[in-house]
């Protein structure tokens, strides 16, 4: 974004800058009234924006066109949606379970059917797919490492058998493999977080016109 010139935008830029410092007063100092102000501002603004965007705009956009075409079945989800509000009534609270049943069913149905191929079958297939022809010793070592590592790590999650004997060794190896995975993952995330924070450090300088916008 270029450095704004309109007064409202310049004002906005400084508000944004101040709000950032108010929030960072929490990690850099401690919880204080300035942070609390920013916190409550954020909660209020976000709630309003989400209501306008999700509950009102998106819902109307999704419901109005089919209703106009005479698809009266679209009244059902609206009714179901408002049934959720029976939670506020002590007597008819249980009615709010019906819309939830639809959500839970959709969640489980899509979830269970969705994990079969990418989470289970594809993982097995890629574990047992050997390196392409002409692969060197390193590729074969990686093939062996990933296969044995995956098998041992899965074994670590066996919950209803005691980890004794050969299985004990396998699960200990599995645990180490898991630790390597978590460590590498953690390390990789540092990149993302620091990129984000550097964005804020950059913004701090940009508003002061020390760095170009």
């Amino acid at each position: 974004m270029p450095y704004p010139t309109a007064p409202a935008d310049v004002f906005g830029l400084w508000v944004a800058w101040l709000l950032m410092l108010m929030i960072y007063s929490y990690p850099l100092y401690k919880e204080n009234p300035v942070f609390r102000f920013a916190e409550h501002t954020y909660i209020g603004v976000m709630l309003a924006i989400m209501l306008v965007r999700t509950s009102i705009t998106t819902t109307i956009n999704m419901v109005a066109p089919p209703l106009m075409k005479g698809r009266l079945d679209y009244i059902i989800p609206i009714v179901l949606g408002f049934m959720m509000y029976f939670l506020l009534s002590a007597r008819y609270r249980w009615i709010s379970r019906y819309p939830i049943a639809v959500l839970v069913g959709a969640g489980f149905g899509l979830g269970m059917r969705g994990v079969l191929i990418p989470n289970i079958l594809n993982q097995v297939i890629s574990t047992i797919t050997p390196p392409a022809t002409g692969a060197g010793a390193v590729d074969w070592w990686n093939y062996i490492y990933i296969a044995i590592g995956t098998i041992c790590a899965v074994m670590y999650f066996v919950l209803t058998w005691e980890h004794r004997g050969a299985m004990g060794y396998a699960t200990r190896l599995g645990r180490w493999i898991i630790m390597i995975g978590l460590g590498a993952y953690f390390g990789n995330t540092v990149l993302f977080r620091m990129a984000m924070l550097s964005g804020r450090a950059q913004f701090f300088l940009q508003v002061l016109k020390i760095a170009p916008m």
């Binding site: 950032m20 603004v45 709630l47 540092v190």
Partner: protein, 217 residues
């Protein structure tokens, strides 16, 4: 009868919706009903946000009413800024069909909202730093492996790692491309089974913990 309405019918609806999703996925044919149910679910979820809003706003109204120490003036402010934002957004939507066309709403969205979003998103940079400081200590073999893998990857992602020692990116890339693969694969597999079993119990109406019934009762 009322009991049946409160329980069995609810479980039945859950099960029917689940099965419809399965049928659509596995069997040849056109299953418009599945698509429609997904749209319904989206609409229901969108509408239900208002319920949360009622809860949130009434909590802050109570704060104000009870003059809760240290918080109530901020609760007033929350109400004010909420009303300003939503009224300007609605004004924009009603007049032009686009909330963003209202200048006040647009300003609130563009400056306070996005800045706070970026700020909070980036705040993790601080916390991941101190989390690494605390967690990456070679207390035992497990922790040492976590530490070694983590540090090599950290130095690999920064170009300077390769400048310090040419071997760092080689080892770090191995951790990224292969070293972590078995663990991630294992998590995907076992989490999938966990969900299958959990979903199966829900399908049979035997997992009711989330419907407010204590497990094992």
């Amino acid at each position: 009868m009322a009991e049946v309405l409160r329980r069995e019918v609810v479980y039945l609806i859950t099960a029917i919706v689940t099965v419809i999703m399965f049928i659509e996925f596995f069997f040849v044919g056109t299953w418009n009903v599945a698509e429609e149910l997904r749209t319904w679910a989206t609409i229901i979820a969108n509408i239900s946000l208002g319920l949360g809003a009622v809860r949130l706003l009434s909590e802050h109204a109570k704060n104000i009413q009870k003059r809760r120490a240290g918080v109530w003036p901020f609760s007033i402010w929350l109400w004010i800024i909420f009303l300003i934002t939503i009224l300007s957004g609605l004004a924009g939507y009603v007049t032009t069909h686009d909330a963003m066309k209202n200048p006040l709403y647009n300003w609130l969205f563009r400056w306070p909202y996005t800045s706070l979003g970026q700020t909070l998103y980036a705040i993790t940079g601080f916390y991941i730093f101190s989390a690494a400081y605390r967690a990456f200590r070679a207390r035992n073999i497990d922790a040492a492996l976590l530490l070694i893998a983590g540090c090599f990857v950290i130095l690999t992602n920064a170009p300077i790692g390769g400048v310090i020692w040419g071997g760092i990116p080689v080892i770090g890339r191995w951790f990224l491309d292969y070293g972590q693969a078995p663990a991630m694969r294992c998590f995907l597999i076992v989490a999938a089974f966990g969900m299958l079993a959990y979903g199966f119990r829900a399908l049979l109406g035997r997992e009711r913990g989330f419907y407010g019934e204590v497990a094992g009762e």
